[in-house]
Symmetry: D2
């Protein structure tokens, strides 16, 4: 079974694209564009829902499948963009949380 960590998934995505010779399409610009398109497909699931309906979205098996599927697509393009730009996504996020903790101090 494949290891379930970010680095292993990033490696699988990289091998997947290389085997299909998709590398020439995978410029950072194209990957950023594809990421935004997939984020749109994820948002589409929620666009006409009330806040309450959106909180309950996973109780519908068909919608739940779509949410998981689109979350995966967004993550796939995010990781491929990060590989192309040599960004370590975990470090980038940890650094951002650090900055946000200084920028938005918690209420007393």
């Amino acid at each position: 079974m494949a290891d379930l960590d970010i680095a292993s998934l990033q490696e699988r995505l990289s091998e997947f694209a290389a085997a299909r010779e998709w590398g020439r399409y995978h410029t950072p610009k194209n990957l950023a564009m594809a990421l935004m398109v997939e984020a749109g497909e994820l948002a589409e699931i929620f666009q006409w829902l009330t806040p309450e309906e959106s909180a309950d979205v996973m109780s519908d098996p068909e919608k739940a499948f779509r949410v998981r599927d689109e979350v995966a697509d967004v993550l796939a393009y995010l990781l491929q963009l990060a590989s192309a730009c040599e960004v370590d996504v975990l470090t980038a996020l940890a650094d951002k949380i650090d900055r946000n903790e200084r920028r938005f101090p918690p209420p007393e």
Copy 2:
């Protein structure tokens, strides 16, 4: 030092939002919308670049910072949406790669 894995970052994001009482804003719908908005901010860095310039984006320290910062923002909202929907992002992506390997067989 904080552990650098997805589950730990997801926990930090959850505590960060809880401490600021942002939970009521964090419906799946709002998080999906914020994710798309952040994906737009990431794409903005690349929108006027040629493919070649986009491949070289990280050689500019100011743009490199923005890329890391926006990648972090996209991941932050993706993880918060995943928490709200109880989606395991690593499993979702591994399953999606499995499906894609069947859907797009590699050339012989």
Copy 3:
């Protein structure tokens, strides 16, 4: 034949939604979200194209149909959002061009 101007199209869109009782879905927030989703579908047509291929996109009849179709969807949600917010889109754009002419003076 229907008049082809913005106001008439805005009126047709309004009657279309009213006849289907879609008004309760058409909050400014939902319309802004749907607009972004449609902009993503328009961008999807171009995401893997080179700049040169994108300049030639209309020579492919199937892609040309999709471009016209998605341009129409983006405009439809933009006009419905503008109606909901009582924004006159033509005045808003004329004012913005005025501001941009002051902000970005043309080279000598």
Copy 4:
């Protein structure tokens, strides 16, 4: 005073870009990407609002200015993309409404 119709605004946008020699940036692909980015900036205004707050967004003068400003930006890129692809936006939308009237018949 400038005429306020789509064709005149499209002409002003075209002259504006030509005077600044921005034409080489304005491939259909880049314009579609910029359109999506601006749609994201418009959506950002609404992302944390309740449906009720979003319906009342124009009562806040600062938010009302942003809505008009971002609506103008979205329309500007949509018209520039339409010019680049020789799409008549009014005809495209009228045709789309015709198709939708057949696809979604009104309830009896």
